[in-house]
Amino acid sequence: MKRYNVKIDSFEGPLDLLLHLIHQAEVDIYNIPVAVITEQYCEYVQTMQELELDVASEYLVMAATLLEIKSKMLLPQDSEYSEEDPVDIEEDPREELLSRLVKYKKYKEAAYHLKEKEKAASSYYAKAPTVHHQDNDDSSEKESSLPEGLTLFDMLEAYQNLQKRIRVSSSQVTTVKAEEISIEEKMEDIVHILEKKQGEIKFYDLFLTREKPHIVATFLAVLELMKHRKVTCIQAANFEDIKVEYIEEAAY
């Protein structure tokens, strides 16, 4: 017997698994050898359990359905019965399974089509709306009344749009912002903070803006202040918080 691909987790459900088995057996969907397919299906579900994958109850229900169909197939055809009551044949559960499979297969194909479209559609780009446009827009929002009919999803949609927006400004050529942050300014800032905080602050609290230039400038500023004996850093023990303390007499 052929070895099956152990690819269980990627099935979208019992119908998907069945379609896979039918495809693998290279039989027509309308010409399924129920006995063989049922056996393979059950083997799959068993493997899933052995692999301790979470087997959804739907898989087990389908296994039961298949076994039921298989057992019915083994029963001798009761021709008298079917002639007398043909309606019963129409309500045969096997028929229902086929129509479900056919229906599911169509949507699976439609999903494939959407996937293709998704891929193609992601190669179009557009610019962000012109700012001028937004400016005027905002002027009409001045009043504090809230617009009607705005939903959470308008907000989500705006956010989704933002996420897919390309950012020319943050292109590969990084703009170096270094000149914006001078160490002198940082030193003044730190002294200012220490004055307000009764001359003591946790070292890490100086680094709330987690941008590299800020971190570097702040760190250098602390070193510079230590050199000028304006602050001192104290660490009680390894890995303890470092405290930055203001040295009063050194001020100015």
């Binding site: 979208e12 459900g13 050898p33 479900r100 599911y104 559609a121 557009a126 927006r165 943050s170």
Partner: protein, 188 residues
């Protein structure tokens, strides 16, 4: 307003709106013309851009018109700018979305029935991505929510309307029965 002027304005509006897109009714109101006339003008503009430009085109999604770069230029734009990675939809989401797209409005139970598995998670993902929305409640027992696709769905898949979805080869109820007969005949 003369046609040429109107065309100039439409170009400008499309440019300014960018990825937000220009809605038909906005175009009509801004130009001071009927929506019918605006649609005609937008269509003329779309053709003009198609014929005269090399790297840009006008895309229509629902009633929204968007000036976009065409496929040829995509790799170069990706090289120049940082393009956010677009999370592709999972198979479960795509299946669920396809079922909703072809059967809207539809309830969760109906989706579950077609897929043969629970679709709750996929539905939530699609709602979060604003590709579907609940549009009300069915009159049936329990008044379950009904789901529809959104305008963003059209935009996301670059469809001008739902009609653009390929038809599922419509297999009617009686066809299925006939096919079923063939199927079970073959098993005998």
């Amino acid at each position: 307003m003369e046609e040429l002027e109107m065309q100039a304005v439409i170009e400008g509006l499309l440019y300014v709106c960018g990825d937000e897109g220009l809605k038909l009714e906005e175009a009509a109101r801004t130009l001071g013309v009927s929506e019918q006339e605006a649609e005609k003008q937008l269509s003329v503009c779309k053709d003009r851009i198609q014929n005269n430009l090399l790297g840009l085109e006008v895309k229509i999604n629902g009633n929204k018109y968007q000036l976009v770069t065409n496929e040829k230029t995509a790799p170069f734009i990706e090289a120049l700018a940082s393009v956010p990675e677009r999370g592709k939809l999972s198979q479960a989401s795509l299946e669920t979305l396809a079922i909703i797209a072809y059967n809207q409005p539809i309830t969760r139970t109906e989706i579950d029935d077609i897929r043969g598995v629970k679709s709750e998670k996929a539905i939530q993902t699609l709602i979060n991505k604003v590709l579907i929305t609940d549009s009300g409640r069915a009159q049936s027992i329990g008044r379950p929510k009904l789901y529809n696709t959104t305008d963003r769905f059209l935009e996301y898949f670059d469809l001008s309307s739902l009609d653009e979805l390929p038809t599922l080869d419509d297999v009617e109820e009686h066809d299925v029965t006939e096919e079923a007969d063939l199927f079970f005949d073959a098993l005998k």
